[in-house]
Protein backbone atom coordinates (compact mmCIF):
# COMPACT_ATOMS: atom_id res chain seq x y z
CA UNK A 1 0.00 0.00 0.00
CA UNK A 2 1.16 3.52 -0.71
CA UNK A 3 1.49 6.06 2.09
CA UNK A 4 2.23 9.75 1.93
CA UNK A 5 3.04 11.67 5.09
CA UNK A 6 5.18 14.41 6.57
CA UNK A 7 8.24 13.04 8.31
CA UNK A 8 10.40 15.46 10.29
CA UNK A 9 9.05 18.33 8.21
CA UNK A 10 9.54 16.73 4.78
CA UNK A 11 6.84 15.16 2.60
CA UNK A 12 7.61 11.46 2.09
CA UNK A 13 6.00 8.60 0.22
CA UNK A 14 6.58 4.90 0.60
CA UNK A 15 5.22 1.61 -0.70
CA UNK A 16 4.74 -0.65 2.32
CA UNK A 17 2.90 -3.83 3.25
CA UNK A 18 -0.17 -3.39 5.42
CA UNK A 19 1.10 -5.20 8.47
CA UNK A 20 4.28 -3.18 9.00
CA UNK A 21 4.17 -1.11 12.16
CA UNK A 22 4.99 2.56 12.03
CA UNK A 23 8.13 1.72 14.02
CA UNK A 24 9.26 -0.71 11.32
CA UNK A 25 8.50 1.83 8.60
CA UNK A 26 10.56 4.49 10.36
CA UNK A 27 13.50 2.19 11.08
CA UNK A 28 13.55 -0.17 8.10
CA UNK A 29 12.01 1.84 5.26
CA UNK A 30 13.42 5.26 6.15
CA UNK A 31 16.51 4.17 8.11
CA UNK A 32 15.65 6.38 11.08
CA UNK A 33 17.05 4.06 13.72
CA UNK A 34 16.98 6.60 16.56
CA UNK A 35 13.52 5.34 17.45
CA UNK A 36 13.97 2.09 19.39
CA UNK A 37 11.99 -1.11 19.78
CA UNK A 38 12.22 -2.02 23.46
CA UNK A 39 9.32 -4.34 24.19
CA UNK A 40 7.22 -4.19 21.02
CA UNK A 41 3.97 -4.21 22.98
CA UNK A 42 3.42 -0.70 24.25
CA UNK A 43 4.91 -1.13 27.71
CA UNK A 44 8.29 0.59 27.64
CA UNK A 45 7.94 3.85 25.68
CA UNK A 46 11.25 3.53 23.75
CA UNK A 47 9.40 3.79 20.41
CA UNK A 48 7.67 7.10 21.21
CA UNK A 49 7.28 9.52 18.30
CA UNK A 50 5.12 12.62 17.88
CA UNK A 51 2.13 12.01 15.58
CA UNK A 52 -0.08 15.00 14.74
CA UNK A 53 1.26 16.82 17.80
CA UNK A 54 0.76 14.00 20.30
CA UNK A 55 3.24 11.46 21.67
CA UNK A 56 2.29 7.93 20.59
CA UNK A 57 3.87 4.47 20.59
CA UNK A 58 4.97 3.64 17.09
CA UNK A 59 5.05 -0.12 17.84
CA UNK A 60 1.24 -0.13 18.27
CA UNK A 61 0.42 1.78 15.09
CA UNK A 62 0.38 0.45 11.57
CA UNK A 63 2.51 2.24 9.00
CA UNK A 64 -0.55 2.65 6.78
CA UNK A 65 -2.23 4.63 9.56
CA UNK A 66 0.49 7.25 9.17
CA UNK A 67 -0.94 8.13 5.74
CA UNK A 68 -1.77 11.85 5.75
CA UNK A 69 -0.25 12.49 9.16
CA UNK A 70 2.67 14.53 10.42
CA UNK A 71 5.35 12.66 12.34
CA UNK A 72 8.42 13.81 14.22
CA UNK A 73 11.11 11.40 15.41
CA UNK A 74 14.15 11.85 17.65
CA UNK A 75 16.22 12.72 14.56
CA UNK A 76 14.28 16.00 14.22
CA UNK A 77 15.10 17.10 17.77
CA UNK A 78 18.82 17.54 17.24
CA UNK A 79 18.63 18.70 13.63
CA UNK A 80 20.10 22.06 14.71
CA UNK A 81 22.25 20.90 17.63
CA UNK A 82 21.16 19.39 20.93
CA UNK A 83 17.90 20.63 22.43
CA UNK A 84 17.72 22.09 25.95
CA UNK A 85 16.33 18.78 27.21
CA UNK A 86 19.10 16.75 25.56
CA UNK A 87 21.73 19.05 27.11
CA UNK A 88 20.04 18.69 30.50
CA UNK A 89 20.16 14.87 30.14
CA UNK A 90 23.94 15.08 29.61
CA UNK A 91 24.45 17.49 32.49
CA UNK A 92 22.41 15.41 34.93
CA UNK A 93 23.83 12.04 33.88
CA UNK A 94 20.37 10.91 32.83
CA UNK A 95 21.77 8.62 30.10
CA UNK A 96 23.58 5.35 30.65
CA UNK A 97 23.00 2.69 28.01
CA UNK A 98 20.84 5.17 26.10
CA UNK A 99 18.27 2.77 24.74
CA UNK A 100 15.29 4.37 26.48
CA UNK A 101 16.56 7.93 25.97
CA UNK A 102 14.94 8.75 22.58
CA UNK A 103 11.54 7.86 24.05
CA UNK A 104 12.05 10.02 27.12
CA UNK A 105 13.26 12.93 24.98
CA UNK A 106 10.24 12.71 22.66
CA UNK A 107 7.86 12.60 25.63
CA UNK A 108 9.67 15.63 27.04
CA UNK A 109 9.63 17.58 23.78
CA UNK A 110 5.86 16.97 23.56
CA UNK A 111 5.40 18.07 27.16
CA UNK A 112 7.42 21.28 26.78
CA UNK A 113 5.63 22.10 23.55
CA UNK A 114 2.31 21.84 25.40
CA UNK A 115 3.44 23.77 28.48
CA UNK A 116 6.57 25.79 29.15
CA UNK A 117 6.18 25.40 32.87
CA UNK A 118 4.98 21.89 33.76
CA UNK A 119 4.26 20.99 37.38
CA UNK A 120 6.15 18.12 39.04
CA UNK A 121 2.96 16.07 38.65
CA UNK A 122 2.77 16.79 34.91
CA UNK A 123 6.43 15.78 34.51
CA UNK A 124 5.79 12.53 36.39
CA UNK A 125 2.78 11.74 34.20
CA UNK A 126 4.88 12.35 31.07
CA UNK A 127 7.66 10.09 32.42
CA UNK A 128 5.18 7.45 33.58
CA UNK A 129 4.96 5.72 30.23
CA UNK A 130 8.69 5.02 30.01
CA UNK A 131 10.94 2.36 31.46
CA UNK A 132 14.64 2.94 32.19
CA UNK A 133 16.68 0.09 33.66
CA UNK A 134 19.99 1.94 34.12
CA UNK A 135 19.86 5.35 35.74
CA UNK A 136 16.74 5.10 37.78
CA UNK A 137 14.35 7.92 37.18
CA UNK A 138 15.77 10.55 39.51
CA UNK A 139 18.38 11.89 37.10
CA UNK A 140 15.82 11.98 34.29
CA UNK A 141 13.34 13.84 36.49
CA UNK A 142 16.08 16.33 37.44
CA UNK A 143 16.90 16.88 33.77
CA UNK A 144 13.26 17.69 33.08
CA UNK A 145 13.22 20.07 36.05
CA UNK A 146 16.37 21.77 34.78
CA UNK A 147 14.73 22.58 31.44
CA UNK A 148 11.74 23.85 33.29
CA UNK A 149 13.91 26.22 35.32
CA UNK A 150 15.69 27.42 32.20
CA UNK A 151 12.49 27.97 30.25
CA UNK A 152 10.79 30.03 32.93
CA UNK A 153 13.77 32.32 33.67
Amino acid sequence: MKIKFKLNGELKTAEIVSYMTLLEVLRDTFGLTGTKCGCGNGECGACTVIMNGHPVRSCLILGVEADGSEIFTIESVSANGLSDLQKAFLEEGAVQCGFCTPGFIMAGEALFKRTQNPTDEEIKIALGGHLCRCTGYDAIFKAFKKVKVKKTL
Binding site: P55, I125, L127
Partner: protein, 289 residues
Protein backbone atom coordinates in the same frame (compact mmCIF):
# COMPACT_ATOMS: atom_id res chain seq x y z
CA UNK B 1 4.66 -14.90 10.73
CA UNK B 2 1.22 -14.87 9.09
CA UNK B 3 -0.66 -11.60 9.17
CA UNK B 4 -4.39 -10.99 9.02
CA UNK B 5 -6.04 -9.48 5.98
CA UNK B 6 -6.27 -5.69 6.29
CA UNK B 7 -8.91 -3.34 4.90
CA UNK B 8 -9.42 0.36 5.44
CA UNK B 9 -12.99 1.52 4.65
CA UNK B 10 -13.52 5.24 4.14
CA UNK B 11 -17.16 5.42 5.32
CA UNK B 12 -19.71 3.36 7.23
CA UNK B 13 -21.50 2.38 4.03
CA UNK B 14 -18.21 1.47 2.44
CA UNK B 15 -17.54 -0.70 5.51
CA UNK B 16 -20.37 -3.19 4.92
CA UNK B 17 -19.48 -3.69 1.27
CA UNK B 18 -15.87 -4.50 2.04
CA UNK B 19 -16.17 -7.31 4.60
CA UNK B 20 -14.51 -10.50 3.46
CA UNK B 21 -16.63 -13.62 3.82
CA UNK B 22 -15.69 -16.36 6.31
CA UNK B 23 -13.23 -14.27 8.29
CA UNK B 24 -13.30 -13.19 11.87
CA UNK B 25 -13.56 -9.41 11.89
CA UNK B 26 -11.43 -7.34 14.27
CA UNK B 27 -12.05 -3.61 14.20
CA UNK B 28 -8.81 -1.67 14.51
CA UNK B 29 -9.11 1.73 16.18
CA UNK B 30 -6.23 2.71 18.52
CA UNK B 31 -4.63 -0.73 18.23
CA UNK B 32 -3.31 -0.59 21.80
CA UNK B 33 -4.85 -3.96 22.68
CA UNK B 34 -5.22 -5.56 19.26
CA UNK B 35 -1.55 -5.59 18.27
CA UNK B 36 -0.61 -7.26 21.53
CA UNK B 37 -3.18 -10.00 20.94
CA UNK B 38 -1.73 -10.54 17.48
CA UNK B 39 1.83 -10.74 18.82
CA UNK B 40 0.80 -13.01 21.68
CA UNK B 41 -0.84 -15.42 19.25
CA UNK B 42 -4.34 -14.83 20.62
CA UNK B 43 -5.62 -14.03 17.14
CA UNK B 44 -5.64 -16.63 14.41
CA UNK B 45 -4.16 -14.43 11.70
CA UNK B 46 -4.93 -16.69 8.75
CA UNK B 47 -8.69 -16.62 9.40
CA UNK B 48 -8.94 -13.00 10.54
CA UNK B 49 -9.40 -9.59 8.98
CA UNK B 50 -8.41 -6.28 10.58
CA UNK B 51 -10.86 -3.58 9.59
CA UNK B 52 -9.12 -0.26 10.20
CA UNK B 53 -11.87 2.22 11.13
CA UNK B 54 -9.59 5.18 11.78
CA UNK B 55 -10.86 7.01 8.70
CA UNK B 56 -14.52 6.95 9.86
CA UNK B 57 -14.33 10.43 11.34
CA UNK B 58 -18.08 10.54 12.01
CA UNK B 59 -17.41 8.08 14.84
CA UNK B 60 -15.09 10.56 16.60
CA UNK B 61 -16.23 13.20 19.08
CA UNK B 62 -18.45 14.05 22.04
CA UNK B 63 -21.85 15.68 21.54
CA UNK B 64 -24.61 16.84 23.87
CA UNK B 65 -28.15 15.73 23.08
CA UNK B 66 -31.28 16.75 24.98
CA UNK B 67 -31.34 13.63 27.18
CA UNK B 68 -27.87 12.14 26.62
CA UNK B 69 -24.19 12.66 26.09
CA UNK B 70 -23.04 10.80 23.01
CA UNK B 71 -19.41 9.70 22.73
CA UNK B 72 -18.34 8.41 19.33
CA UNK B 73 -16.56 5.05 19.41
CA UNK B 74 -13.33 6.52 18.02
CA UNK B 75 -13.05 9.17 20.74
CA UNK B 76 -9.69 8.79 22.47
CA UNK B 77 -9.18 8.86 26.22
CA UNK B 78 -7.06 12.03 25.86
CA UNK B 79 -10.11 13.76 24.38
CA UNK B 80 -12.36 12.34 27.11
CA UNK B 81 -10.02 13.50 29.88
CA UNK B 82 -10.20 17.08 28.60
CA UNK B 83 -13.92 17.27 27.78
CA UNK B 84 -15.79 20.02 29.65
CA UNK B 85 -19.09 18.28 28.90
CA UNK B 86 -17.92 15.04 30.50
CA UNK B 87 -16.35 16.87 33.47
CA UNK B 88 -19.84 18.26 34.10
CA UNK B 89 -21.88 15.09 33.62
CA UNK B 90 -19.43 12.18 34.03
CA UNK B 91 -16.53 13.24 36.27
CA UNK B 92 -15.91 9.58 37.11
CA UNK B 93 -15.33 8.76 33.43
CA UNK B 94 -12.92 11.72 33.14
CA UNK B 95 -11.07 10.42 36.21
CA UNK B 96 -10.81 6.98 34.59
CA UNK B 97 -9.54 8.47 31.30
CA UNK B 98 -6.82 10.37 33.19
CA UNK B 99 -5.34 7.22 34.68
CA UNK B 100 -5.77 4.94 31.67
CA UNK B 101 -2.42 3.66 30.41
CA UNK B 102 0.09 6.42 29.72
CA UNK B 103 -0.22 9.65 27.71
CA UNK B 104 0.90 7.77 24.58
CA UNK B 105 -1.69 5.05 25.09
CA UNK B 106 -4.45 7.54 25.96
CA UNK B 107 -3.67 9.47 22.76
CA UNK B 108 -4.60 6.38 20.74
CA UNK B 109 -6.88 4.16 22.82
CA UNK B 110 -10.60 4.66 22.13
CA UNK B 111 -13.73 4.23 24.21
CA UNK B 112 -15.24 1.94 21.58
CA UNK B 113 -12.17 -0.26 21.83
CA UNK B 114 -12.35 -0.35 25.61
CA UNK B 115 -15.94 -1.62 25.36
CA UNK B 116 -15.27 -4.02 22.48
CA UNK B 117 -12.24 -5.50 24.23
CA UNK B 118 -14.63 -6.45 27.07
CA UNK B 119 -11.93 -6.83 29.69
CA UNK B 120 -13.36 -6.90 33.23
CA UNK B 121 -10.44 -4.56 34.02
CA UNK B 122 -11.28 -2.01 31.28
CA UNK B 123 -10.90 1.40 32.91
CA UNK B 124 -13.90 3.11 31.29
CA UNK B 125 -16.31 0.27 31.96
CA UNK B 126 -17.21 0.66 35.67
CA UNK B 127 -18.05 4.29 34.99
CA UNK B 128 -20.20 3.46 31.95
CA UNK B 129 -21.99 0.80 34.00
CA UNK B 130 -22.54 3.25 36.88
CA UNK B 131 -24.19 5.63 34.39
CA UNK B 132 -26.32 2.86 32.85
CA UNK B 133 -24.87 3.85 29.51
CA UNK B 134 -25.91 2.19 26.26
CA UNK B 135 -23.69 1.05 23.44
CA UNK B 136 -24.87 1.80 19.90
CA UNK B 137 -24.21 -1.32 17.86
CA UNK B 138 -24.46 -1.31 14.07
CA UNK B 139 -24.55 -3.93 11.35
CA UNK B 140 -25.35 -3.76 7.64
CA UNK B 141 -29.10 -3.71 8.36
CA UNK B 142 -29.18 -0.92 10.94
CA UNK B 143 -28.30 -0.10 14.51
CA UNK B 144 -29.60 -0.79 18.01
CA UNK B 145 -28.91 0.35 21.56
CA UNK B 146 -27.66 -2.22 24.02
CA UNK B 147 -27.32 -1.76 27.80
CA UNK B 148 -23.60 -1.65 28.47
CA UNK B 149 -23.86 -4.66 30.80
CA UNK B 150 -25.53 -6.64 27.99
CA UNK B 151 -22.54 -6.08 25.69
CA UNK B 152 -20.38 -8.35 27.84
CA UNK B 153 -20.73 -12.11 27.71
CA UNK B 154 -17.72 -12.77 29.96
CA UNK B 155 -14.04 -11.89 30.19
CA UNK B 156 -12.91 -10.60 26.75
CA UNK B 157 -16.18 -11.81 25.19
CA UNK B 158 -19.05 -9.73 23.82
CA UNK B 159 -22.57 -10.63 22.76
CA UNK B 160 -22.00 -8.95 19.38
CA UNK B 161 -22.15 -11.00 16.20
CA UNK B 162 -19.11 -11.23 13.92
CA UNK B 163 -18.85 -7.97 11.94
CA UNK B 164 -21.09 -5.92 14.23
CA UNK B 165 -19.48 -2.67 15.27
CA UNK B 166 -19.82 -0.38 18.28
CA UNK B 167 -20.38 3.09 16.82
CA UNK B 168 -20.99 5.13 19.99
CA UNK B 169 -21.77 5.05 23.67
CA UNK B 170 -24.77 7.01 24.91
CA UNK B 171 -24.82 8.23 28.51
CA UNK B 172 -28.08 9.52 30.03
CA UNK B 173 -27.80 12.96 31.65
CA UNK B 174 -28.68 12.98 35.32
CA UNK B 175 -31.29 15.43 36.66
CA UNK B 176 -29.70 17.58 39.35
CA UNK B 177 -31.79 19.15 42.16
CA UNK B 178 -31.16 22.80 43.01
CA UNK B 179 -28.26 23.15 45.46
CA UNK B 180 -26.85 19.71 44.60
CA UNK B 181 -23.82 18.95 42.45
CA UNK B 182 -22.65 16.07 40.27
CA UNK B 183 -19.54 14.35 41.61
CA UNK B 184 -17.71 11.22 40.61
CA UNK B 185 -14.37 9.50 40.64
CA UNK B 186 -12.57 6.33 39.63
CA UNK B 187 -10.00 4.41 41.65
CA UNK B 188 -7.87 1.47 40.68
CA UNK B 189 -5.02 -0.43 42.20
CA UNK B 190 -2.10 -2.09 40.45
CA UNK B 191 1.56 -2.92 40.75
CA UNK B 192 2.92 0.57 40.09
CA UNK B 193 1.71 4.15 39.84
CA UNK B 194 1.64 4.58 36.08
CA UNK B 195 0.50 2.39 33.21
CA UNK B 196 -1.61 0.13 35.39
CA UNK B 197 -4.09 -2.47 34.29
CA UNK B 198 -6.35 -2.70 37.32
CA UNK B 199 -6.17 -5.55 39.81
CA UNK B 200 -9.36 -4.04 41.15
CA UNK B 201 -11.22 -0.82 40.32
CA UNK B 202 -14.30 1.15 41.28
CA UNK B 203 -16.31 4.03 39.81
CA UNK B 204 -18.54 6.12 42.05
CA UNK B 205 -20.97 8.62 40.56
CA UNK B 206 -23.28 10.70 42.76
CA UNK B 207 -25.41 13.80 43.10
CA UNK B 208 -24.67 15.37 46.48
CA UNK B 209 -24.87 18.44 48.67
CA UNK B 210 -21.94 18.15 51.08
CA UNK B 211 -22.54 14.76 52.72
CA UNK B 212 -26.20 14.47 51.72
CA UNK B 213 -26.72 12.06 48.88
CA UNK B 214 -29.59 12.48 46.43
CA UNK B 215 -28.40 9.82 44.01
CA UNK B 216 -25.46 7.43 43.92
CA UNK B 217 -24.33 4.67 41.59
CA UNK B 218 -21.33 2.38 42.07
CA UNK B 219 -19.74 -0.21 39.78
CA UNK B 220 -16.73 -2.47 40.30
CA UNK B 221 -14.08 -3.60 37.82
CA UNK B 222 -11.78 -6.66 37.79
CA UNK B 223 -13.52 -8.39 40.71
CA UNK B 224 -15.79 -10.59 38.58
CA UNK B 225 -16.08 -12.00 35.05
CA UNK B 226 -17.93 -8.82 34.07
CA UNK B 227 -18.33 -5.30 35.48
CA UNK B 228 -20.46 -5.44 38.63
CA UNK B 229 -23.09 -2.81 39.43
CA UNK B 230 -23.68 -2.55 43.19
CA UNK B 231 -27.29 -1.46 43.04
CA UNK B 232 -27.99 -1.85 46.75
CA UNK B 233 -25.65 1.04 47.57
CA UNK B 234 -28.14 3.47 46.13
CA UNK B 235 -30.81 1.98 48.44
CA UNK B 236 -28.53 2.47 51.44
CA UNK B 237 -27.36 6.02 50.71
CA UNK B 238 -29.99 7.79 48.58
CA UNK B 239 -31.72 10.50 50.60
CA UNK B 240 -29.28 10.03 53.48
CA UNK B 241 -26.12 11.61 54.83
CA UNK B 242 -22.96 9.54 54.43
CA UNK B 243 -21.81 8.28 57.83
CA UNK B 244 -19.23 5.69 58.94
CA UNK B 245 -22.09 3.28 59.76
CA UNK B 246 -23.73 3.58 56.33
CA UNK B 247 -20.32 3.31 54.63
CA UNK B 248 -19.79 -0.01 56.45
CA UNK B 249 -23.18 -1.22 55.16
CA UNK B 250 -22.13 -0.32 51.61
CA UNK B 251 -18.88 -2.23 52.06
CA UNK B 252 -20.86 -5.28 53.21
CA UNK B 253 -22.83 -5.11 49.94
CA UNK B 254 -19.59 -4.95 47.97
CA UNK B 255 -18.14 -7.94 49.85
CA UNK B 256 -21.31 -9.93 49.08
CA UNK B 257 -21.41 -9.15 45.37
CA UNK B 258 -17.68 -9.20 44.43
CA UNK B 259 -16.57 -12.55 42.99
CA UNK B 260 -12.91 -12.15 42.09
CA UNK B 261 -10.63 -14.88 40.75
CA UNK B 262 -6.91 -15.68 40.82
CA UNK B 263 -5.16 -14.80 37.58
CA UNK B 264 -1.74 -13.66 36.36
CA UNK B 265 -2.39 -10.13 37.61
CA UNK B 266 -3.51 -10.77 41.17
CA UNK B 267 -5.25 -13.16 43.56
CA UNK B 268 -8.91 -13.48 44.49
CA UNK B 269 -8.01 -12.98 48.14
CA UNK B 270 -6.17 -9.71 47.51
CA UNK B 271 -8.88 -8.36 45.25
CA UNK B 272 -11.59 -9.18 47.75
CA UNK B 273 -9.56 -7.47 50.48
CA UNK B 274 -8.71 -4.32 48.53
CA UNK B 275 -12.01 -3.52 46.81
CA UNK B 276 -13.73 -2.16 49.95
CA UNK B 277 -11.03 0.34 50.95
CA UNK B 278 -10.83 1.38 47.29
CA UNK B 279 -14.56 2.15 47.35
CA UNK B 280 -14.25 3.99 50.68
CA UNK B 281 -11.40 6.10 49.32
CA UNK B 282 -13.49 7.03 46.29
CA UNK B 283 -16.56 7.84 48.38
CA UNK B 284 -14.61 10.00 50.83
CA UNK B 285 -12.97 11.87 47.98
CA UNK B 286 -16.24 13.01 46.43
CA UNK B 287 -18.66 13.13 49.38
CA UNK B 288 -17.40 15.53 52.03
CA UNK B 289 -18.36 18.59 54.08
Amino acid sequence: MIYPEYIQPVSLTDLWGKFPQDKKIYFLAGGTDLFNYLRDGLIDASSSCFVDISLLKQLDGITEESENIRIGALTTFSTISESGLLKKYCPDLVAAAKVLGTPQIANRATIGGNIGNASPAGDALPSLAAHFAKAEVANSKGSRLLNISDVFAGPKKTTLANGEIITAVVIPKIKVKAGFTVVGTFKKIGGRKSHIIAKASVAVFAVVKNKSVDYISVALGAVGPKIIEVRNISKILSGKKVSPELTEKCKDEIRKIASPIDDFRSTAEYRQEVICPLFEQALNEIVKD
